[in-house]
């Protein structure tokens, strides 16, 4: 089934991936304070006194640059995003806010200089590359005993492509969300990408493992396409179920967990769904392409 319509499935993936890349190219990422520096400040004001607009105007009047005020979940809770603030400025503005709005409870305050962001970016990139190649090389190694009819490094190569696929699509969604909802890309985003890569390969392994087992048993008498079809069919339920349990906890985390982790959770959720699709409908069919080209 899967092999018969493989062009359709892979074509679908290519279109989505192109859309994701285009989304990143067109919208770019809205970078969080840990990447570009800046201040993120959560305060609780008497709800009768303040609205996002009043607070925003008040802060702009204090010569704060690029002020962005959002309302929080609870009435009176606001998050303020602005440029980097020194501790003196922070205290000064807090005092001014107190005299303007009465009681001000500071829920959180983070101000980050731009130096950290530069390092974070280069280290994130390094971690990304290491995970990408680490996993691919491991797969090539784990499948070293099945070098016929597809050599084991090709399993690794296919894994590399699916990992890229699984990382690019959620990243594209986030570029879009950044543009429309102001969702920012921060350290959590990088962690989410790496986690997605670590998880999405699980289902691929399950299918590959079955292919490996059948190929070893069949001693090359079967056509690779048939082996893959049978393998996917037999492992279909477990591929879906293992992802589903992860989806269940992610949904619980998204609905009930801390609001500051929502974007992180959503990202992994998208990645898990994409990863499940790719392991069934992309990774295994890709093997058959490589086989034909390889011989």
């Amino acid at each position: 089934m899967v092999i018969k319509y493989k062009n359709l499935f892979i074509g679908f993936s290519i279109i989505i991936t192109i859309a994701a890349v285009a989304s990143m190219g067109v919208f770019g990422f809205k970078q969080g304070i840990d990447f570009v520096g800046g201040t993120f400040w959560q305060v609780r004001l008497p709800s009768s006194e303040a609205s996002a607009q009043i607070l925003s105007e008040f802060l702009s009047a204090q010569n704060l640059e690029n002020v962005l005020v959002r309302e929080g979940e609870v009435a009176g809770d606001f998050s303020i995003r602005t440029k980097e603030l020194s501790e003196e400025r922070h205290q000064e503005i807090l005092q001014l806010m107190k005299s303007r709005f009465g009681s001000v409870e500071e829920l959180s305050f983070a101000s980050i200089g731009p130096a950290i962001g530069k390092e974070l970016r280069s280290r994130s990139l390094l971690a990304f590359v290491l995970v990408l190649f680490g996993i691919s090389l491991y797969i090539a190694f784990a499948f070293r005993k099945v070098s016929y009819p597809v050599s084991s490094w090709k399993y690794g190569f296919v894994t590399l492509i699916t990992l890229f696929h699984d990382a690019l699509i959620p990243a594209g969604v986030f570029a879009y969300l950044g543009h429309t909802q102001g969702v920012e890309v921060d350290t959590n985003f990088i962690v989410a990408i790496l986690v997605i890569m670590g998880f999405s390969v699980h289902d691929t392994i399950v299918v590959f493992d079955r292919i490996r087992e059948r190929l070893l048993l069949a001693k090359n008498r079967e056509d690779l396409g048939d082996v893959i079809n049978a393998s996917i069919q037999q492992t279909f339920a477990r591929s879906i179920n293992t992802s589903l349990t992860l989806v269940i906890v992610l949904v619980a985390l998204y609905i009930f967990g801390a609001p500051s982790l929502q974007a992180f959770t959503l990202m992994i959720l998208i990645g898990t769904v994409v990863g499940t699709y790719s392991s069934i409908f992309v990774a295994s069919p890709l093997l058959t392409y490589l086989q034909k080209n390889g011989r």
Binding site: I116, I139, G257
Partner: protein
């Protein structure tokens, strides 16, 4: 064999009950007293984002320090700041020095501090003392003096052994008497010898305090700073010197503060999200795998308490992200069960007996379980080594979660299945 499995299972359950008591953080459970066992033995360590507190990152200005001395300066700086933080009573302050590229940094974590701005002020206000040579040059053309230039020397506050408040015998004004350590003594002697008849400037926090003229070489490493101090200023300075002067200037480049209320709220939400998620996974397992699912539920319960106990035993600081990592590992811990059960079902369908189907299920599913867990372990390790402290918590809980889940999937589930073998 079955008896052995039943005994093993009983032992596992017993350990789990103890582990459960060990991790349960409240003194009562549904009105039944737990004796507050958990907190008495070893309390949970919670991160700043859950109990409230502040994380400060300081950039250290090493421009005035020889490169060979930099590591010792960092160590000194860390000690000094640790002592300063202790002065205003933070429990277990965490001060870590780090070097990235050319920049030296200090990370200071203050848990449960009420007044963070006061803490920041105190850390930043630590006096930075250095001695400077003075170069006065006369403009030859018209004989007028030009502004003297100051040449900072190696002699800084890092060589101060102790400070004392003294009073000038004539004016009765408060003065600060400092005593150098042996290294400082040598430096001071050389410096005074070189500058006999010339002034030596003393800077405190980059302000010129005084510039006494050196009358003769001073041995013994003692100096008196004469400045326009009020009694209170002088007393405060002495206190700070004795806590340790900063061996190099620092600048706050990063501040992250979480209020206690927000932290509490986050913790509550994460715990409930974890409970709901786990229960939902359990319901799914029972609905889909029926009898086998019940075993998976039992295995998952054991997994959860054992993992939590491992976190606690290893004194891992639980952060928001750390809890998220653990919750994700719950979603993955059952994966091994699913793989084993699916395989067992296949074997049963092929006509195998219960016992051999279970054995084959474990054996054949093992390669998938091993490979997929190893990729997660790899990812967690890379996350741990290449990212900041926030992410480390996540990577660590995920890593431990996966390791325990490999144990629970293989040993615990197999024991359960064998113990209940006949009933199926």
């Amino acid at each position: 064999m079955r008896l052995k499995s039943i005994l093993t299972l009983a032992l596992l359950l017993l350990i789990s009950v103890f582990a459960g008591l060990f991790v349960y953080p409240y003194p009562t459970f549904n009105g039944i007293s737990t004796g507050d066992f958990a907190n008495k033995v070893l309390p949970w360590r919670l991160g700043l984002d859950l109990v409230g507190g502040s994380q400060l990152i300081y950039e250290v200005d090493m421009s005035g320090v020889e490169s060979v001395d930099r590591d010792s300066v960092m160590a000194g700086l860390r000690d000094v700041i640790e002592r300063r933080v202790n002065l205003f009573g933070v429990s277990e302050p965490n001060v870590v020095s780090s070097k990235s590229g050319d920049s030296y940094r200090l990370l200071v974590e203050l848990a449960g501090v009420k007044d963070v701005s006061e803490a920041i002020a105190q850390i930043g206000e630590t006096p930075f003392l250095f001695f400077s040579e003075v170069e006065t040059s006369e403009d030859a053309a018209n004989g007028e003096e030009v502004a003297p230039s100051f040449i900072p020397t190696q002699l800084t506050g890092r060589y101060v052994k102790k400070a004392q408040l003294v009073f000038d015998q004539i004016s009765n004004r408060p003065q600060i008497f400092i005593e150098f350590n042996s290294e400082g003594e040598v430096l001071f002697e050389a410096l005074t010898e070189k500058n006999v008849g010339r002034p030596l400037a003393i800077f405190l926090d980059n302000n010129l305090i005084s510039a006494p003229v050196v009358s003769e070489k001073i041995t013994g490493g003692r100096a008196q700073i004469t400045g326009q101090f009020s009694l209170q200023e002088a007393r405060q300075l002495v206190e700070r010197f004795n806590a340790g002067a900063l061996p190099a200037p620092i600048a706050l480049i990063n501040q992250q503060t979480v209020g206690a209320a927000l932290g509490q709220d986050s913790l509550q939400k994460m715990v409930w999200a974890g409970v709901y998620g786990t229960v939902a996974v359990m319901i799914f397992m029972v609905l889909y795998y029926l009898g086998l699912g019940v075993y998976a539920v039992l295995a998952l319960c054991i997994y959860v308490v054992l993992t939590l106990a491992a976190f606690k035993l290893l004194s891992i600081t639980m952060t928001l992200a750390g809890i998220a990592g653990f919750i994700l590992s719950i979603g993955m811990a059952v994966d091994a069960n699913i793989l084993i059960f699916e395989r067992t079902k296949e074997e049963l369908k092929a006509g195998a007996s219960w016992a051999s189907a279970v054995d084959a299920g474990f054996q054949r599913a093992w390669t998938s379980i091993r490979d997929s867990n190893l990729t997660t372990i790899l990812t967690a390790l890379i996350l741990f080594y290449f990212t900041s402290s926030f992410v480390k918590g996540f990577a660590l809980t995920l890593l431990i979660g996966v390791l325990v889940s490999m144990f629970s999937a293989i040993t615990v589930t197999r024991t359960i299945l064998r113990a209940f073998a006949k009933s199926n």
